[in-house]
Every structure is written in structure tokens, then in C-alpha cells.
């Protein structure tokens, strides 16, 4: 897949924006979960659950999907590729894993938010799990950010094979 430099720059900007936005939204989600866990105020706990549901569905999920899809498109349009370098492959696996966990967990958040909206005197025993999910997600996103900046060396067997083929036939490579 080839892109003009201008389009490639635009896609890169969109990928950074969605990825960093996702990270920031998870920090906010974590702050709400901690506030709900430590607060003695029932209204604060209920408001936090409702806010967590809104942030989850309308900010975190769209940003996660955007980051994943834009990242795939971007990697296929650069010499880095999607499966050629270990750091790109690890990022892909971590992002897919985090997105799947997020999508599986959000119905539970919606359930508790629904309870919060209906019964002000309900007790919540799911906040420990929220810290685990949000904390794990934050860790994954920090690892991804670090990999993106440092780009540690190492080509996959697939990448090495492609590289050898390209070196063996430079005329074909130049034509493509």
C-alpha cells in the first residue's frame, strides 16, 4: 500500500492522537474508579459509575478502535510493515488484546452504571475489578508508547525473508 507523504503524515497524526487520547482517557477512568473506591459519599460513587460508563463507551472504545485500525493502515503504508519488526508486532498484539478485554468488560460497567442510576442506596463490590482492568490497560498503553518511541531492533523471520528477497532482486523492488 503506497501513500503520498502528505497523506502518510495525516495518518500518523491521527494514529498518535487516537493512541495518546486513549491513554489519557484511561487515566481519567482510573481516577474515577479510585475516587469511587475511596469515597464515603454514596452520590459520588454513583456519579463515578455513570461517568465511567459514558467515558468507556463514548471515548475509550472509539479511540481504541481508531488507534487499532489507523495503526494497521499506517504500518502497511510504511517500510516498517505490520509483521516485519518485533516492536510493531508486539504493539499490534497488545492493542488487539487490550481492545478485546475492553469490549468484553464494558457491558459489566454498563450493568453497574444502570444499577447506580436506579438505586442510590445500592452497594458496589465491583470497583476492585475496575482498578485491575483500568490499571492493566494503562500499563499496556504505556508499553505501546515506549515501543513506539524507542523502536527496539529486531526483525521477525518474515521480515528477514522479505528483506533477503528485496536485496536479491533490487530491480523488482524498485519497480514496485
Amino acid at each position: 500500500m503506497t501513500m503520498t507523504p502528505r497523506l502518510r503524515k495525516f495518518v500518523l497524526t491521527a494514529h498518535i492522537t487516537s493512541s495518546v487520547g486513549w491513554l489519557g482517557a484511561v487515566v481519567v477512568y482510573l481516577a474515577l474508579a479510585v475516587a469511587a473506591l475511596t469515597s464515603q459519599d454514596a452520590q459520588m460513587v454513583h456519579a463515578a459509575w455513570i461517568a465511567m460508563e459514558l467515558i468507556g463507551w463514548f471515548v475509550i472504545v472509539p479511540l481504541a478502535l481508531a488507534s487499532l485500525l489507523i495503526g494497521i493502515v499506517q504500518s502497511l503504508s510504511t517500510p516498517w510493515g505490520l509483521f516485519r519488526h518485533y516492536w510493531v508486532l508486539v504493539k499490534l498484539l497488545l492493542t488487539v488484546f487490550a481492545t478485546i478485554i475492553l469490549l468484553l468488560h464494558m457491558p459489566t460497567v454498563s450493568y453497574f452504571a444502570g444499577i447506580a442510576a436506579e438505586a442510590i442506596d445500592a452497594n458496589f463490590d465491583g470497583l476492585g475489578g475496575e482498578l485491575l482492568h483500568a490499571g492493566g490497560g494503562l500499563l499496556v498503553l504505556l508499553v505501546n508508547t515506549t515501543l513506539s518511541v524507542y523502536k527496539p531492533r529486531g526483525m521477525t523471520p518474515y521480515g528477514r525473508k522479505q528483506n533477503e528477497q528485496r536485496t536479491a532482486s533490487p530491480a523488482v523492488d524498485a519497480a514496485t
Binding site: 502518510r8 503524515k9 500518523l12 494514529h15 498518535i16 493512541s19 499506517q74 504500518s75 510504511t78 517500510p79 516498517w80 516485519r84 519488526h85 518485533y86 510493531v88 508486539v90 459489566t108 450493568y111 453497574f112 444499577i115 438505586a119 442506596d121 445500592a122 452497594n123 463490590d125 465491583g126 476492585g128 475489578g129 485491575l132 505501546n144 508508547t145 513506539s148 518511541v149 523502536k151 527496539p152 531492533r153 529486531g154 526483525m155 528477514r160 528483506n163 536485496t167
Partner: protein, 61 residues
């Protein structure tokens, strides 16, 4: 992120880099810890936790 700023180094190591091995071991340990914790107390995490919570709320007046 920022994949277009630096060019790939095609002359990189032929074997699996050390950072990938370390990363894989850490990931494996985390997965094992998760499984052990889950098996040790299935009610604290996963679907079991959710069922417990639903039962808890169902008992509320």
C-alpha cells in the same frame, strides 16, 4: 506511532532479540499469575465476579 520518522534497520540481529525474550517471559508470568489467581478465587474476577454482583444486587430491596 511515529513510524515514518525513523527508517527500519534492515541490518538488525538475525536471532530473536533479548528484549523480545524478556518481554515474552514477563507476559507469560503475568498470564500465569492471572490464571492462578482466577483459579484460586474464581469469584473475584471474570464472569464469576459478575454473577456474584448480579446476585448481590438482586437481593437488594
Amino acid at each position: 506511532m511515529s513510524q515514518t520518522h525513523a527508517r527500519p534497520d534492515h541490518g538488525s540481529t538475525a536471532s530473536i532479540p533479548r528484549w523480545v525474550k524478556v518481554f515474552g517471559i514477563v507476559a507469560l508470568v503475568l498470564v500465569l499469575v492471572f490464571i492462578v489467581l482466577h483459579l484460586a478465587d474464581p469469584g473475584r474476577h471474570g464472569p464469576g465476579r459478575h454473577i456474584t454482583s448480579i446476585e448481590h444486587f438482586a437481593q437488594l430491596p
